[in-house]
Amino acid sequence: MSVVRVMGPDSAPGPAVPWRKVLWERQPFPDNYVDQRFLEELRRNEGIRQYRYWAVVKEAGFVGQQLSCVAIFITLWLYMEQGLLSPERLLLTSLVCALLGYGLHQALTSQMESGCELRTRLADLQSATIFLSFTFGFSPVLKTLTESVSTDTVYAMSAVMLLAHLVSFPYAHPSTPGSLSLNAALFASVCLASRLPGALHTFAMLSCALLVFAMWPCLLQRLRENAPSQFTGLCVGVCIGGVGGLGSQSPGGAVLLALALGSVTLLCPLLLVMLQRHKDNIQGPWDEAEIHEDISHFLH
């Protein structure tokens, strides 16, 4: 095999044969040769999504309304704690809201083809009955659960858990609330509810928590899918309700909430859109290949 032995850095460039990106052929080029085709397979920002400001604001609205939901829940708890809201009234309102929401949910579901919908109304009723009866039965226990823990600790724990709920909430697919976010929210509600004056208060608070943290996101997701324009309005409404409600109890908190909402729904999308043009994502043949197929069916 006669090979052209011109290798190693800084050798003189060879004859006018085109360079090839192969290693098995000894080519008349130095080892540190840089061809025109160097990096030709580099691809930049492939499949990039161009965001538009108002579309991002709309999506961010979901985050804002979830923040407001937490604020509304805290407001209700503050009212309960100060005795301004009786548990009977809260229960009644919750029941009415639940029934209205359930009806709306059913209406929106039947609009879609009910291919994936397998739960019957009887099953829904069963779950509701089981949950309510157990919560009612256990509410005296829950009421005294944290008695031996200092109030500061309980508040701090609730704050951390509500924060965890907001952070871990699955904003993209809220119809199946993430187990972490839902558990964190319910843990916080149990903590807060156990500081209320009576067992019925605890029961009302927990039912309300379930409504706000478990059912409401499902309904909202349905709205987002089927009625986008109403969804936006609803988000704005919830945000105003959250700020207003908190304002009636603590004006400082309301200001802070309004600032947080403003930055989450208006400022952050602006940053995202503005930083978008600095995005420089590079791909090439060196990237690890991804397995897109579902291989698990070979196993199960």
């Binding site: 192969v22 540190n32 160097f38 580099l42 994502n281 060196w286």
Partner: protein, 484 residues
């Protein structure tokens, strides 16, 4: 360079940064090379055998080579391998995956000892995963030695961990004299990762010892077609794809057998597949293989399958082809550069594409239209040899030894300019501290009072492949020397 050679007689003139221009371009110059990597025998892998084989060929060419790695278990101190190749197993703490912990400073005293005693002129670090290699580069630049780095792996750009490691690579390579990559894809990757000038990056492929991998068709069973897979059983090697290919093809071809060598966390996937489809007699899992046993497994097969998802060079397919097997592989990383199209069937990294590629090769086998193992071997044997690798690496050393090592002030400026204001400043500070530490060490024990190690290899090497008494005499002398 030349001054450093004279250091035997006049050790006080050793600390120079950069080389005098008049001796810069003598091609036949012999170098004192120090290979540094966390990965060396008894650890097994591509980097390890690369360092060993390259060192042996460089010794053959008359250079002096020593290898520095960290202690493996009870293997610490100085060891000698074939042809007087000296290996320092330094007592540095291993942190993760056989890579040492790095503080940028603590390895300086030991490495300085090695560099000074062995009169090293070129420090050659291997593998971007090796913290010790980067440490050695850092100290070598502080000591005014020329540096070369070989990158053996590909890296992505997408996640946080790669952003961080790429930043560290930028810091480490911005003032390294020359970089070697094992394929053009690897070069593109490294140039992008470390923001380098592509002119200081050479492509020198890996090699395979063709005498180790010779075909032996008599080992094949004629009543079946055997597909051989030899790879660590990990995600990056595409073992999940293999788990999809096995049932698909075994159902279609009743005479198809799989022979799988290697061990790893994905073994369970293959075992489940074997269990579910009752393929115990047709899919054999051999477990971890010693390097010497690989050929014995390869020659039993007709087809070599590689399902890697990323690969800088892939020695395994060259070994398979060298044993005369038909190679089927995924088209990822540097693999398309490695073998000519008639020796390899490239497929997309999907079960369907790999099955199609394998079926095409199986059909060729049935019709008898595949080239004979001997003819495949004859084609592959001259493609990648270690002598060729050593020859090309030698040219890199020749070039590097003519270059100057940046003095501290320009090194600091380079770090600030290339690595960004934050990382650049931090590492410039580290470089200053490293320099001060070096001055302190030189004040404690000046270079000129340090013993010079016996040369086993190189122009003045004492190693003679002869009676064992002489060999052990040299070894004793050197070990005494290094422990004093």
């Amino acid at each position: 360079m030349g001054q450093r050679r004279r250091a035997v007689t006049n050790p006080s003139s050793r600390r120079v940064s950069g080389a005098p221009a008049d001796v810069a371009r003598v091609p036949s110059r012999k170098h004192n090379i120090c290979m540094v990597s966390d990965f060396f025998y008894p650890n097994m892998g591509g980097v390890e055998s690369h360092i060993y084989q390259l060192s042996q060929c460089l010794i053959e060419k008359g250079h002096k080579v020593v290898i520095v790695t960290h202690a493996y278990g009870r293997r610490k101190g100085v060891r000698y391998l074939t042809n007087g190749l000296k290996v320092y197993y330094l007592p540095l703490q291993v942190m993760y995956n056989q890579s040492t912990a790095t503080t940028c400073f603590h390895s300086l005293p030991l490495l300085r000892c090695v560099f000074v005693r062995e009169r090293i002129t070129v420090v050659h670090a291997h593998s971007s995963f090796s913290a010790m290699g980067h440490d050695a580069l850092f100290h070598a630049k502080t000591m005014g030695l020329n540096t070369v780095f070989t990158d053996h792996s590909l890296f992505g750009f997408a996640d946080v961990s790669s952003v961080l490691t790429n930043k560290l690579l930028t810091v480490s390579l911005c003032d390294t004299n020359h970089i070697v990559c094992v394929s053009y894809t690897s070069k593109e990757n490294t140039v992008l990762r470390a923001a380098l000038d592509p002119k200081i990056v050479s492509v020198i492929p890996n090699a395979v010892d063709p005498t180790d991998f010779t075909p032996d068709p008599s080992q094949r069973l004629d009543d079946r077609i055997t597909i051989v897979v030899i790879s660590r059983l990990v995600y990056r090697k595409g073992i999940d794809l293999l788990g999809g290919i096995i049932p698909e093809l075994c159902l279609k071809h009743p005479d198809l057998h799989f022979l799988i060598g290697g061990e790893g966390p994905k073994r369970i996937v293959l075992e489940e597949v074997r269990e579910k489809y009752q393929l115990h007699d047709r899919v054999r899992l051999l477990g971890a293989l010693e390097h010497k046993d690989v050929r014995g497994v390869l020659v039993q097969g007709h087809i070599f399958l590689n399902t890697s998802l990323t690969e800088a060079f892939c020695m395994a397919i060259v070994e398979g082809a060298s044993c005369g097997l038909q190679v089927v592989s995924t088209r990822v990383g540097g693999i398309p550069e490695v073998l000519p199209n008639d020796l390899i069937t490239l497929c997309e990294p999907t079960v369907r594409s790999l099955c199609a590629g394998l079926e095409a090769v199986i059909a060729q086998h049935r019709s008898g239209s595949v080239p004979s193992p001997a003819s495949v071997h004859a084609r592959v044997r001259s493609l990648y040899t270690w002598r060729n690798v050593a020859e090309r690496t030698e040219k890199v050393y020749d070039r590097v030894s003519g270059e100057e090592v940046l003095p501290l002030d320009r090194r600091l400026r380079r770090l600030r300019a290339y690595c960004g204001p934050v990382a650049g400043t931090i590492f410039a500070l580290f470089a200053v501290l490293d320099f001060l530490l070096l001055l302190f060490l030189q004040w404690l024990v000046p270079d000129r009072v340090m013993d010079v190690a016996m040369d086993a290899t190189g122009p003045h090497g004492l190693w003679r492949p002869g009676p064992s008494s002489k060999v052990s005499g040299t070894k004793r002398a050197a070990e005494k020397d290094s422990s004093s």
